[in-house]
Symmetry: D2
C-alpha cells in the first residue's frame, strides 16, 4: 500500500536538546517534505509538543515502514506519538437534545466536506432532530434519559458509541451530564460546547446568569469534557457584544451563532490533531 | 447668559405612556432641535431612561429658564433628571499606582481634547508617574498607603478629592481597595478598570488566574466601584486573543492595550452622561 | 380586526423641529406604549429618519384606524412612512447558484423561526440545492442561465418572482448579474452578499484578488443591489483574519462563515424595517 | 565576548528537502535550545522562510563563532540570513507631522520598554510635537517641507537619518510622500500607517472617502513603503465598527485608536524580525 499524499506526525515528550534535529533529519532521510510544522516547549511541565504535515511525493515507503523507522527515535525520546494519513477521517458521534443550531452547523460542514470526519450517527434524548438527520442518511439513535434511571440511559449511550466504533464524541448542546466513567474512557475525545465565556457562568442557564450580572459580551467555550462540570481543558472560545436592551431571549439568539462557530472551530482543531492536552490546559497549533 | 450651542437632557422615571410626548413637545415648544435621542424601557424595573442632545440655535432662553420650564414636567413624571451644557467638563481625579499605561492613555486623550474633562489632579501611592504628570502641568498628590494605617491614607485621599472639588474619580490601575464609605459617597462616580473579563477572575492577579485556567482570551472590564470588590455595575468590557505560547508576562502585555481602551471608552460614556445605573447593572446609550 | 400586539412605524421626512413631538404625542393620545424608538437626523440631506415599535395593549383601534389618524400628520411633515403589524412576514425569494453555505444558513434561521419571513421559494440556475430545499417543503425553481440568452432567463426569473408575489429578493451567492431593469423595479429590496470587504475587491474572484494583494483580513459585505456591480448601499459587513499560510482555498473557507453571518444580519435588519436608503448609503437602526 | 542569553536566526532560501534538518542539527550540535521556531514554504515562489529563537545557556561559543559555524550551511542552501542577539535594539527614527496619536503611543511603548528599540530621534515638518518629545530626552529635528522645494527637505531628512545611523524609519502619520530613491535605499525598513483598510481608500482623506461610500467599518493598515503610494507589502491591519450617525470627525476619532494599535503591532513584528517581504506580500511569524 503506497503512502498517502500527506502524512501527519503528532508527538509530545520530555523537552531536551536535539528533538527537532532528530525528527527533521529522519524526515529528510526518508525524503519527506515538511509542508506545515509547529512546535512548543511548555515551560511549567518541561514538555515538548510537535505537529508536522509531511508531503510524501518523494518517499518510497509504506506508512507502516515509516512508523517502523520512527519507532526507535520515539523510544529514545520517550514520545507519545501518532503518525497517520493526514486525510484520515475520525469516526464521530454527535449528541444533541432539542436545540439544533450546532447540529445544523456541523451537519452542513460535514456534508459539504468542510470538516473531514465520518459521521457514524447522532444520539439524542429527544426526537426533534430525527427527520433532519435522516435526510442526511445518518443513523439517529433516540435514547431517552429518565430522571430516575439515568444510569440505564448512559449505558445505552455507551453501547451505541461502542457499537459505532466512535473515536470522538461531540456534545452539540446535549443537555445531560455524562457520567464520570464515560468521561474517563473517552478522555480527550469528548468535546462540549458551553454557552458562556468560561470560567464565567458555569452550570445551567448561563445566559440568565449573564443577564443578571449585566455583562456587555456573551460568549461560548468549547472544551474537553472531564468529570468536573464545565471545567475541562478549553480548546476554543469567543464572544459577541450584548447591551442593556437585550433580554435573555435576545442574548440566547446572538449567542447561538457564537456557540456554533466555536464548536465547529474546536472540532476542526481536534479532527486535525492540532490539540494537545496538558494537565487542564491545551496546546493548540492553529492553522 | 445665553444658552450654550447644545444642551444635554438626561432623565429616568417610572415608565408610563406619554413621557416621550411630553418631553419632546416641550422641547419643540422651546424651539429646541433634537440632534441625538435615545430611550429605553427597562422591563424588570418598569423604569424609563432617556438622553437627548438639543441644538439651541433657535431657542431664546437661558439655561436656568429652560430648567424652569422643565421642572413641572419632571415633577409630574417623578423624574431623576439633569439638564446641562453639553460641553460642560466634569472635574476628574485620576488615581494610579505604578502601572502607568492607562494613565498615559487618559492623559493623551485629555490633552488632545479627545476626552472632554477638567483634570484636577492625579493621586498616587507612588512617585513613579510624578514627572510625566508634571510635564502636563497637572497637580500630583503623592499619598503613600501604609499597610498598618490605611485609614489615614484614605482620609488624606478624600480630603484631596474634596479640596479639588472632584466629580468623577478614575481608578487607572490604582492597586488599593477604597473604603466602603468613600465608595458610598461617590456612588456611580468612581470608575475602575479591572484587568479581567468579569465575572471571570475577580480579585488579585487575574492574568495569573487566566493563565492557570488556560483561557483563550484575556479581557478587561470597567465598572462603577461599589463596596464589593470587582462586583459593581459594568460599563464596558472587551477581550483579546491569547494562546498556549503566551506566558503570564505576555498576557499582561497584550492585556494592557485592552485595559487602556476599555477604561477610555467607559470614561467617555460616563463623561457624556450616557450611563444610567439600575441596581447592579447599567443602561448605556452608546454613541 | 383588533390591533396586533405590536405595531411598527417607520418614516422619513425633511428635518424640522417638532416631528418627534407630533409623532409621540399622537402615539400617546392613541394610548400606544413605545417599546423601541430610534431616530436620526442626516446632516447632509437634512432628512429625518424614525423607527418606533409600539405596544398596543391599551389601544382600542384597528390598524387601519391608526393609519387614518396618522395620515394627516404624515402629510403635514411630507413623510415617507409605513405602519404595520410588527410580526408581519415579508415574502422572500432566495436566489442561489452552487455555493450553498448562505442558503443553508438562511434555511436554518427560517425554519427555526429565528428570522421572521415567508419563504416563497428558491430560484437557482443549477440543480445542486434542489433536494435540500425540497426537504424543507419549499418550492425550487430551476432557471438555467445560458450565456447567449440571459435575457430569456432573467425574464423567467422575473415572472417567477411576480408569480410568487415576492417582496424581498436575497442573492445568496447567486453568481449572475441581474439586469438593471430588475434592479430598478425591486430597488431597495434586493439584498446581495459580496465576498469581499467592499469597496476592496469589487467584481469576480475577490478572494483571489485578496490573496494577490496580501491583505491580512478577508471580509464580506451585504448591500442593496443597484445597476452598478457591487456598488449599492451597504447594509452590513464584517471581516476575519487571514495570514500568509492561507492559500486561496483556505481564504474561501474562512470567508464562507463571514458571508453567511453578514447576509443573515443584513436580512434581519431589512426584514425588521431597520434600514433606510439615503442616496448610496444606509441608515441602519440596529437592535 | 560570551553569547547573549538568546540568539535569533532568520533566514529564507529556495525550498528543498533537508533545510530544517540541517539547521536544527547544527543548532543541536552547538547545544542550542530552540525556544521558538516557525517556518513556512511559500508555494508560488518555492521559497522557504524560517525564524528561530535559541536559548544559549549550554552553548560555549561567541556569536561570531556561531555565525562561522552557520556560514557553510547558509552557502549550501543559498540563504539570505541573519543571526543576532535576540535583545538587540534596532535604531529607529520616527517621522511625524501634526497628528500625534501614533507618536504618543510609540513613545509610551518605547519608554516603558514594551517595544525594544533605540529611539535615535524624531523628525517632523512641524513643531507641534517638539516639547513632548523633548520631555523624553529624544532629539527632535524640525525639517520644514516647502511645496516648491521638497527635494531640499528630503535631502535634509536623509542626511539626518544617515547621521543618526538609522535602521528603521517609522512614518507615524507623516503627511509627506517620501521620494522613490529614499524608499529604495531603505526598502523593507520604512513602515507607514495608512488610515484605511487597504486596498480600500488609497490616497488622501481616506476617512472622507469611507464616509462617502457609507462603509460600516473603518480601518488602518501598516505596510512597508514602496515608490507606489499605499501599495507596499502589508504587515498588519485592523478595523473598527462605524455607523450612519458617525460623521467624518467621529470616524477620524475612532480610527485613531486603530491606527495607533496597528502601527505598534507592525513595528513590534518588524523589530523582532518576524516579517519577510516576498514580492509585494509579507510572511509574518506572529508571536
Amino acid at each position: 500500500m503506497p503512502l498517502p499524499p500527506r502524512i501527519l506526525l503528532k508527538l509530545s515528550c520530555p523537552d531536551r536538546i536535539g528533538i527537532v534535529a532528530a525528527v527533521s533529519t529522519l524526515i529528510a532521510e526518508l525524503r519527506g517534505c515538511i509542508v506545515e510544522a509547529q512546535h512548543h516547549s511548555d515551560v511549567s511541565s518541561r514538555r515538548f509538543f510537535m505537529r508536522q504535515v509531511i508531503d510524501t511525493a518523494e518517499m518510497n515507503l509504506t506508512l507502516e515502514q515509516v512508523r517502523e523507522r520512527f519507532r526507535p527515535l520515539a523510544q529514545k525520546f520517550d514520545m507519545d506519538w501518532l503518525l497517520r494519513d493526514e486525510a484520515l477521517k475520525k469516526r464521530v458521534a454527535i449528541l444533541v437534545s432539542k436545540q439544533d443550531h450546532c447540529l445544523n452547523d456541523l451537519l452542513y460542514r460535514w456534508r459539504s466536506g468542510e470538516l473531514n470526519f465520518e459521521l457514524a450517527g447522532v444520539i439524542s434524548n429527544h426526537l426533534d432532530c430525527q427527520s433532519f438527520v435522516a435526510w442526511h442518511g445518518v443513523p439517529y439513535a433516540h435514547i431517552a434519559v429518565q430522571k430516575d434511571d439515568k444510569a440505564a440511559a448512559f449505558a445505552a449511550v455507551r453501547r451505541q458509541i461502542e457499537q459505532w466504533d466512535i473515536d470522538t464524541i461531540v456534545l452539540a448542546r446535549y443537555m445531560q451530564i455524562l457520567p464520570p466513567e464515560l468521561c474517563a474512557v473517552y478522555s480527550g475525545r469528548i468535546i462540549n460546547i458551553h454557552h458562556s465565556f468560561l470560567p464565567s457562568f458555569v452550570g445551567p442557564r448561563p445566559y440568565h446568569q449573564a443577564f443578571e450580572r449585566g455583562v456587555k459580551w456573551v460568549g461560548a467555550t468549547s472544551h474537553y469534557v472531564t468529570a468536573e462540570l464545565d471545567a475541562g481543558p478549553i480548546i476554543e472560545q469567543d464572544a459577541t457584544r450584548t447591551h442593556h436592551a437585550h433580554d435573555v431571549e435576545q442574548m440566547i439568539r446572538i449567542g447561538r451563532d457564537v456557540e456554533a462557530a466555536v464548536l465547529a472551530r474546536a472540532l476542526r482543531l481536534h479532527l486535525e490533531d492540532r490539540v494537545f492536552v496538558i494537565g487542564n490546559k491545551t496546546v493548540v497549533f492553529a492553522a
